[in-house]
């Protein structure tokens, strides 16, 4: 059984259809990449899968439970974690507190002692390399640091599945190498990942399987080499690759 | 009255909680001129409208400087302005109840079998005329285009060469002028007192929610409906019920329209 499944997901904003009957299924411990030109519906699909947006039609299932259209905390409690393409930090909180929110209120592996929760939050910050920024205000971080915080916050609720939205975009080449390492580390830990990235090259390094979304429909589904060879990808991506 | 509120919300994304107090101020200014110089109420309308011009410039200046999120900050700011106006009016006019009791307005107008109070007829005619003129100005003039464009997307409007600041300022002048004139009309029909403003503000908000921001003809229809509900409340249950009914209508409309106006501006 897939861990996450979207069946016939369609979304229309006014008369404009952003997604048209999308079927996706992510298996446990699979790392799946999602590609597509700007405006192809990637973030919309993430919002539907993460319980933030109710689709016009279609259903979303997570581990045998229907979670279509939220509410978002249900998706969060069941084990979906996500990052946002444009970081959405708890601006007024410290970096440590931002991570403590998820650690404190998660439903799985909850620590009863405050000291344990703090240690867990510090461990997560160490994982993304923000240990020395624990006391800083989240809003004061640089973009690169904010992206790491996004990941730490997403991990703080101890999710079984991560939806990662363009973790690498806007980062320096060095930052992107680190992102590749993050993906590898998460995969080692048995995390299931569904990731949007702008760069085909980066996704090809980390993904077991890739989907290509174009004009609201999945046009290609297969392992990276097969996707690369597909003429539909070239058509959808003409001039878009490697911004 | 709701027109002015709705225009300000449209153009500057500001909720003006002092709106009713400005109307009351217009009423007091009108009353003072009437009592001192004996001006006819018809002449008082433009005079009171002009008298609020300085206030319009102050409002424009202040609201332009409110930080994001505009709706909430402007709400807090104008809450303060409302307190300021009420205090000042209480200091000048000593919190007394004033009425422009022009005798010519009290006379009734015989229209067939209908006997109408002249003051109410004047108010109704003036309101219709204002709405008509405003509708023409907004749809048929370059100024109207500028105001409408500014209200839809100020940045885009600025890009195509529209003087956004000018459009904003003229909207404030017009909106507060309307408030001043409304105040005079109001003062010919009801007693004005410094605390009357809050209820008027709430009514203006209710009207704007019902009509949708900036739709002139629906504001008129909504105004009639609200006026009727208010009249029925007062005659049916007594004047004491007016305030709670207005508050209840505001709650109801906020909840009912939270998909439209409220949600649309919430982000």
């Amino acid at each position: 059984m897939p861990i996450l499944e979207g069946r016939g997901v369609s979304v229309a904003f006014g008369g404009l259809s952003a997604l048209r009957g999308v079927d996706v299924a992510i298996e446990e411990r699979e790392v799946v990449g999602l590609l597509g030109p700007n405006g192809s519906g990637k973030s919309t699909l993430f919002n539907v899968l993460g319980g933030l947006l109710r689709p016009t039609s279609g259903e979303v299932w997570f581990r045998g439970q229907r979670i279509t259209g939220g509410p978002p905390w249900v998706a969060g409690r069941l084990g979906i974690g996500r990052t946002f393409q444009i970081p959405r930090p708890f601006a007024g909180l410290s970096v440590l507190d931002s991570v403590l929110v998820g650690v404190t209120f998660r439903t799985r592996h909850r620590y009863r002692r405050a000291a344990d929760r703090r240690a867990e939050a510090e461990r997560l910050l160490g994982l993304v390399g923000l240990a020395d920024k624990a006391g800083a205000r989240a809003a004061a971080l640089s973009l690169g640091e904010m992206k790491r915080l996004e990941l730490a916050v997403a991990l703080s609720s101890r999710p079984a599945l991560l939806l990662l939205d363009e973790l690498a975009s806007g980062l320096s080449p060095k930052g992107r190498e680190e992102v590749v390492l993050f993906y590898a580390r998460l995969r080692e830990r048995g995390m299931t990942i569904f990731a949007v990235e702008h760069s085909f090259g980066l996704l090809a390094q980390v993904a077991d399987r890739m989907l290509v979304l174009d004009q609201g429909q999945i046009v290609v589904d297969g392992p990276p080499p097969a996707v690369l060879a597909s003429p539909r990808v070239a058509a959808a991506y003409l001039g878009e690759e490697e911004r | 009255m709701a027109l002015g509120f709705s225009m300000i919300l449209g153009v500057s994304r500001s909720l003006n909680l002092a709106h009713g107090d400005l109307v009351v101020l217009g009423g007091y200014v009108g009353y003072s001129l009437w009592a001192a110089a004996g001006l006819s109420p018809v002449l008082l309308l433009p005079v009171a409208a002009l008298a609020l011009a300085p206030a319009a410039l102050v409002w424009d200046w202040l609201l332009k400087r409110t930080p994001e999120p505009k709706e909430l900050s402007s709400l807090v700011l104008t809450f303060g302005l409302s307190l300021l106006l009420q205090t000042v009016m209480r200091a000048i006019w000593r919190g007394e109840y004033r009425l422009i009791a022009e005798s010519s307005l009290g006379a009734s107008l015989q229209l067939g079998t209908l006997a109408l109070n002249r003051g109410r007829v004047l108010a109704a005619v003036a309101a219709l005329a204002v709405v008509g003129l405003l509708w023409l100005a907004l749809t048929r003039t370059r100024w109207g285009q500028a105001v409408r464009a500014t209200s839809i997307d100020p940045q885009a409007a600025a890009l195509v060469g529209i003087n956004v600041d000018g459009a904003r300022r003229s909207t404030f002048l017009l909106a507060l002028g309307l408030s001043g004139a409304t105040g005079v009309l109001f003062a010919t029909l009801h007693y004005v007192h410094p605390a009357a403003g809050v209820e008027l503000t709430l009514m203006a908000i209710v009207l704007s929610i019902w009509a949708g921001v900036g739709h002139l003809r629906s504001v008129l229809a909504a105004g009639l409906l609200l006026g009727m509900i208010e009249a029925l409340t007062v005659t049916g249950w007594g004047p004491g019920w007016r305030e709670p009914v207005v508050a209840l209508m505001l709650l109801g409309s906020l909840l009912a329209r939270s998909g439209g106006l409220a949600r649309g501006h919430a982000h």
Binding site: G51, L52, P71, P72, W73, A75, G76, R77, G81, R82, I86, P87, P89, F90, A91, G92, S98, G102, T104, F105, R106, T107, L143, M146, S157 | L15, T66, P67, E68, P69, L72, S73, L75, V76, L77, F79, G80, L81, L83, L84, T87, V88, A91, V198, L202, I205, W241, E243, P244, V246, A247, L250, L251, L254, L255, S258, A262, H265, A266, H267
Partner: protein, 315 residues
């Protein structure tokens, strides 16, 4: 945090002195009113800490005052009556909090304002219970506690210490919340509600809790006020002042800070009554309005909590 508590304790000791020195009862009355307003401002700030900006705290103050007055006139001991009034305020506030299901930000603020106006109007109409516009008179005075020295409880001094104790309790509650899991949930929902829900936090119960706690403290102040003044009228206890002043004071003192709102409340109130009132008897309220306007325009730091959703990092 520890230094904050120490400062609190120090001020508490300092504040305990005036009655013992035999201050004029008028000044004791002024100070106790200042403490009550400071407690209301802190309660308002507690709600703002969880996100909602209230324009309707008069509703909770009035509920507490009327609830306590009615219970007291009905034969309950004043202490029990004040507690009951507090519970009425907490329940009413939680009811108002239900508006947050559909309303956000400025529109929730308008909703709270409408609720306060609604209650004030109802208090005026429902004269069989509330006494209508004339209000309720003859509320019994607070009994002198037998186990305390008379100098601490007699006359104005009793009200003074009670107001001070209430302020201390309000600040203590807020300090406790800020350090606890509850405070973390409040702050997370305030800063980025959607993000917090994705982490498994359900917003509604926390928002209702914030409303109820804030309403409780505010209503206790209202109940105490009713027993000190011994009269309640709609225009007195449901006055818009109890909606405007806490907002002014808390924003001026610094939203979400522990001591700022209370300090600003005491300073602004005393400034208004002792300095502005003798100078401009009719205009002394202007000070509050100007303070609020200045804070919005020139002290964005003081308004950090109002700027929700305004800031986003752009790549």
């Amino acid at each position: 945090m520890r230094s904050g508590l120490a400062a609190l304790l120090g001020m508490g000791v300092l504040a305990a002195v005036p009655p013992a020195l035999g201050f004029h009862p008028y000044y004791l009355f002024l100070l106790s009113t200042a403490f009550l307003l400071a407690a209301v401002a802190s309660a308002w700030n507690l709600l703002a800490y969880a996100g909602p900006i209230s324009f309707g705290h008069a509703a909770f103050f009035g509920l507490g005052a009327y609830g306590a007055a009615l219970a007291s006139l009905g034969g309950l001991s004043p202490w029990g009556a004040i507690a009951l009034g507090g519970l009425a305020g907490a329940a009413g506030a939680a009811g108002v909090g239900l508006l947050s299901i559909r309303l956000r930000g400025a529109y929730l603020a308008l909703g709270t304002l409408a609720c306060a106006e609604l209650l004030r109007g109802l208090a005026l109409i429902w004269s069989e219970v509330t006494g209508g516009g004339a209000g309720l008179a003859g509320i019994p005075a607070l009994p002198v506690l037998p186990w305390l020295p008379r100098v601490l409880t007699e006359g104005r001094a009793g009200a003074y210490y009670l107001a001070l104790a209430l302020l201390g309790a309000a600040l203590g509650l807020f300090a406790l919340i800020r350090r606890s899991r509850v405070g973390l949930a409040f702050a997370a929902l305030r800063e980025e509600e959607e993000r917090a829900s994705l982490l498994g936090l359900r917003p509604l119960p926390w928002t209702l809790l914030a409303f109820a706690l804030s309403g409780l403290v505010t209503a206790l102040c209202g109940g105490l006020y009713a027993h000190v003044v011994r009269v309640v009228e709609p225009d007195l206890v449901f006055s818009r002042h109890y909606s405007i002043l806490p907002l002014v004071m808390a924003t001026f003192g610094g939203l979400h800070t522990l001591l700022g709102p209370a300090a600003a409340a005491i300073a602004l109130y005393l400034l208004s009554e002792l300095v502005l009132h003798p100078l401009l008897p009719a205009l002394h309220q202007v000070g509050y309005a100007l303070a609020l306007i200045a804070v919005i325009l020139y002290l964005p730091g003081g308004l950090a909590g109002l700027r929700r959703g305004g800031r986003r990092a752009h790549p």
